[in-house]
C-alpha cells in the first residue's frame, strides 16, 4: 500500500509540473463551460442583437403597439431604414426590406401591412421574411415574433366584439349588452369589468402569454402570419451547407497548429540544425513552414468541401471562384494563427495546449457551434475578432447567399489582414525566441 501511495504521490507531482496538462485539465474546460453557461445556462440574457428589419404600413394602434414592443426587445436590433450607395438613408418599402434580408444585412424582416388589423374583421395579418442561414437563430426569431403577434390578439378580439355588439344592437343597447357580458365575465372569471370594457393594448404584453396554453392553436387560426423564406429554398441540404464551413475551419486550425509545432520536433531531433548548417537560412525555414501549412490548409478545406458535395450535395461549384478565395483567405489566417502559437510557445506540448485552448474557445465564440447572437454582447464583440467568425461568415456568403466578389471583399480583407498581423508578430517572436538557438 505504501508503494501505491508513493506512486500516487509521484503521479501528482509529475502532473503538476506539466503545466500544459494542468491547463488542459482545468483551464480549457473552465473557459468552455463559461461560454456554454453564458449561452445556455441562464447566466446570460438570452439571444441579443439579432438584426430584424421592420416595416409598419398600418396606422392601427395594434400595429403601432407591435412596433413599439419590438423596439424594447433586447433580443432584436431593429432596423427601419437603409443606406443607399450614395449614403442617403431611406425608409424600407416592401421590396427593399426583402432585398435587405436577401443581402444578409438582417436575419429577418417583419412587415405590418396596411391591412394588419381591420375594424370589420376579427384578425391580425403580418408578413415575415427570413433567411434561415442559422437554423437555431431563426427558430428563435420566429418563435418570438409569433409570441409577440399572438399576444396582441386578446385585445384585438375584445375590441372587435365590443364594436360588433354596438354595430348590430345599436349604440345604447350594445353598451348595455357589453356591460352585462362584462359583469358576467367578472362574476365567473374575476376579470376587471373596466379592463373588458376599455381594453388597452398596454394591458397585454407578449410576456403575459403562455404559448403552452391551449389558446395557441385557437389563435393560430385567427392570426395570419405569412412567412416567406428568401434564401436557401433551393438548397438540397441546408444543414450541411450551413455547417461545413464551421467544421472545416475548426479542423483546419487543429491541423495547422500541429504542423506549425513540428518545428519543435525538428529542433529536438537536430534536423533544424542540420538544415541550418547547409545553405538554408532561418527565413527559408519559416517560409517553407508557412507555404507548406498554407497549401495544406487549402487542400484540407477543398477536400472537406468536396466531401460535402459528394455526401451531402452541398453546392460548391456554382460559386466556386469566390469559395476558393474565401478558402485561401481562411487558410492564410489560420496558418498565421498556427505560426503565432508556435512562435509564442517554448515546446510542442505548450503549443498543443495553447492551440487547443484557443481553437476551442474561438470555435465556441466564433459561431462554429452555435449562433453568436445567443452570446452576451461582450462575447459577441470578441467573436468578431476571431478567424472562425470571419471564415464562417465568408463561407455562408458564398455558399448560402451565392455572394459575388464585391460582397466578400470585407471578409477577404479581414482574413488577409488577420493573417498579415499574425505573421508580422510571429516573425518578430521567432527572431526573439529560442527555437533556432
Amino acid at each position: 500500500m505504501k508503494q501505491v501511495y508513493r506512486l500516487f504521490k509521484s503521479s501528482y507531482r509529475i502532473f503538476w509540473n506539466d503545466k500544459v496538462s494542468v491547463a488542459l485539465t482545468f483551464i480549457v474546460p473552465l473557459v468552455l463551460m463559461s461560454i456554454f453557461g453564458a449561452v445556455f445556462g441562464g447566466s446570460g440574457s438570452g439571444p441579443q442583437g439579432i438584426g430584424l428589419a421592420v416595416l409598419n404600413q398600418s396606422s392601427s394602434p395594434i400595429a403601432k403597439h407591435i412596433e413599439s414592443s419590438l423596439d424594447t426587445m433586447k433580443v432584436f436590433r431593429i432596423i427601419k431604414s437603409f443606406q443607399t450607395d450614395s449614403g442617403k438613408t431611406i425608409l424600407f418599402d416592401t421590396l427593399s426590406i426583402q432585398d435587405y434580408v436577401r443581402n444578409g444585412k438582417a436575419s429577418a424582416a417583419l412587415v405590418l401591412p396596411p391591412d394588419t388589423y381591420a375594424d370589420t374583421s376579427a384578425g391580425l395579418y403580418v408578413k415575415f421574411y427570413y433567411d434561415p442561414k442559422n437554423d437555431i437563430e431563426m427558430q428563435t426569431v420566429k418563435g418570438l415574433i409569433q409570441q409577440l403577434v399572438f399576444s396582441q390578439f386578446p385585445s384585438v378580439m375584445t375590441q372587435s366584439m365590443l364594436q360588433q355588439a354596438e354595430h348590430y344592437l345599436g349604440k345604447q343597447s350594445g353598451r348595455i349588452f357589453n356591460r352585462s357580458m362584462a359583469s358576467l365575465v367578472h362574476t365567473y372569471f374575476k376579470i376587471d369589468t373596466n379592463r373588458l370594457l376599455h381594453p388597452s393594448l398596454s394591458n397585454f404584453s407578449f410576456k403575459s402569454m403562455d404559448s403552452s396554453q391551449g389558446s395557441t392553436n385557437f389563435l393560430k387560426n385567427i392570426v395570419r402570419m405569412e412567412s416567406q423564406q428568401l434564401i436557401g429554398k433551393e438548397m438540397k441540404n441546408p444543414w450541411a451547407t450551413r455547417s461545413v464551413g464551421g467544421w472545416g475551419i475548426m479542423f483546419l486550425m487543429f491541423t495547422l497548429t500541429a504542423t506549425s509545432s513540428s518545428l519543435f520536433d525538428e529542433r529536438r531531433s537536430g534536423v533544424l540544425m542540420r538544415l541550418l548548417t547547409s545553405p538554408v537560412s532561418r527565413t527559408h525555414i519559416l517560409w517553407n513552414k508557412y507555404l507548406f501549412n498554407l497549401s495544406l490548409g487549402i487542400i484540407q478545406l477543398l477536400f472537406m468541401f468536396l466531401f460535402g458535395w459528394v455526401m451531402f450535395q452541398v453546392d460548391i461549384f456554382s460559386n466556386f471562384f469566390n469559395l476558393l478565395l474565401i478558402i485561401i483567405a481562411a487558410s492564410v489566417a489560420c496558418t498565421a494563427l498556427g505560426m503565432l502559437i508556435a512562435a509564442f510557445s517554448q515546446t510542442r506540448q505548450q503549443a498543443n495546449g495553447l492551440g487547443t485552448l484557443l481553437i476551442l474557445s474561438m470555435s465556441a465564440i466564433g459561431g462554429a457551434w452555435f449562433p453568436t447572437s445567443f452570446m452576451p454582447s461582450t462575447i459577441q464583440f470578441f467573436s468578431k475578432l476571431t478567424v472562425v467568425y470571419w471564415s464562417i461568415e465568408g463561407f455562408m456568403e458564398v455558399l448560402w447567399r451565392g455572394a459575388g466578389f464585391v460582397a466578400i471583399i470585407p471578409h477577404l480583407a479581414v482574413l488577409f489582414g488577420i493573417g498579415a498581423i499574425f505573421n508580422i508578430i510571429s516573425v518578430r517572436q521567432f527572431r526573439k525566441g529560442h527555437i533556432f538557438d
Binding site: S269, G270, M273, S278
Partner: protein, 305 residues
C-alpha cells in the same frame, strides 16, 4: 585552412568560449577533447555558421563564416551530436532531402547516395524507414548525410554517442579513409581513446579555453612521468591499496587501479612491495600514460567528471 581568431561566445549564465584561437591545416585530423560543457559544441556551432560569435573571427580558406555566409557552408559537412534524421522517411529519402539543400545535380546526387550507402553498408536497407534502424545504423546514416556535397572540411560533434563498439569501429575506419582521401576533419569527443586513436593533433578544451594543443606525443611529454602502472582490481589488490598509494597517485578505474609514479619512484621498490603482499606479477602491467592523465594534471579533474 581553418582559422579561429580570439573567438568568444557567452550565454546568459556562462562563457562558453573565452578568446579561443586555433588553426587547423588542410587534411588534418584534429581532435577537440574536453569534458561535457567545456565548449566543444559551441565551437562547432560557430564553425558551421549556426550562430555568430560575440567577438573574434572564424574563416575557412580565407572566407569568413557567419550565420549569413551560406555559400561557404558548401565547403563544410557537419555531423551533429543528435541523430538529425527524419524517422518517418527512408534512408534514401533522408539523403535526398539533405543532399538537395546543397544544390547537387540530381544525377550526381543519386550516384553519391548510392556510393555513400554502400560505404557504410546501408545500401540494402536504403528503402527502410529510419525508425526501423538500430542506433549504430542511424549514426552511420547521420554521418553520410553530411558528406553528400563532398565537403572539404568535416566537423564531427561526438558522432559516436551511444554507439556499439562494432559500429564505432566502422565509423572510425570510415573517417580515417575519408581523411586519407583529403578531407580535413575536426572531431570533438570526451573519449580520450577516440582522440588518441584518430587524431593527428589534439586540442584539450576546458571552461571555454584551449588548455593544451599538439600531437599526442607532444601532449604526453607535458606529463611529469613517462609510464603508468595498471594493477588489476581484485580483493587482494583492493586490500593492499596503501602499498601503492605510498608510491604515487593512485586512480581507481572500473576494472583496475592506475598508479602514477611519484618523483624518485623506483620500479624495484614497487616489485618488492607487491611481492611482500602476495600480489601476482600478472596482475600488474606497465602502460603508456593517457590524455586522461594529462587532463587530470592540467585541471585537477577527470574528463568524465
Amino acid at each position: 585552412m581553418i582559422n579561429i581568431q580570439q573567438v568568444t561566445k557567452k550565454y546568459p549564465t556562462v562563457t562558453a568560449l573565452d578568446a579561443v584561437s586555433l588553426e587547423v591545416s588542410q587534411q588534418e585530423f584534429f581532435g577537440l577533447l574536453g569534458p561535457n560543457g567545456a565548449g566543444k559544441t559551441t565551437l562547432m556551432n560557430l564553425l558551421v555558421g549556426y550562430m555568430n560569435p560575440d567577438s573574434g573571427t572564424i574563416s575557412i580558406d580565407g572566407e569568413r563564416i557567419t550565420q549569413d555566409t551560406r555559400e561557404t557552408r558548401k565547403k563544410i559537412g557537419f555531423v551533429p551530436q543528435s541523430l538529425a534524421l527524419y524517422d518517418e522517411l527512408t534512408a534514401q529519402e533522408n539523403l535526398e532531402i539533405f543532399g538537395q539543400m546543397f544544390d547537387i545535380p540530381k544525377k550526381f546526387l543519386k550516384e553519391r547516395i548510392q556510393n555513400q550507402l554502400q560505404a557504410v553498408e546501408l545500401y540494402e536497407r536504403r528503402k527502410n524507414k529510419v525508425k526501423t534502424f538500430s542506433g549504430g545504423m542511424k549514426r552511420r546514416l547521420n554521418l553520410i548525410a553530411s558528406l553528400l556535397h563532398e565537403p572539404k572540411v568535416l566537423l564531427c560533434d561526438e558522432p559516436t554517442t551511444g554507439v556499439d563498439p562494432q559500429s564505432r569501429n566502422a565509423i572510425f575506419d570510415f573517417l580515417t579513409t575519408l581523411n586519407k582521401q583529403g578531407t580535413t576533419i575536426i572531431y570533438t569527443t570526451h573519449y580520450m581513446e577516440e582522440a588518441e586513436r584518430l587524431c593527428s593533433r589534439i586540442g584539450i578544451i576546458d571552461h571555454g579555453k584551449i588548455i593544451a594543443l599538439g600531437s599526442l606525443d607532444t601532449l604526453l611529454e607535458k606529463l611529469a612521468y613517462d609510464e603508468t602502472i595498471a594493477i588489476i582490481k581484485n580483493p587482494l589488490t583492493m586490500k593492499n591499496r596503501a602499498v601503492f598509494e605510498r608510491l604515487g597517485t593512485l586512480l581507481e578505474e572500473d576494472d583496475h587501479y592506475e598508479l602514477k609514479p611519484a618523483a624518485g619512484f623506483l620500479l624495484s621498490e614497487f616489485f618488492a612491495g607487491i611481492e611482500k603482499n602476495g600480489i601476482k606479477y600478472s596482475w600488474v602491467e606497465l602502460r603508456r600514460p593517457t590524455l586522461e592523465a594529462l587532463f587530470l594534471q592540467l585541471t585537477g579533474r577527470r574528463l568524465r567528471d
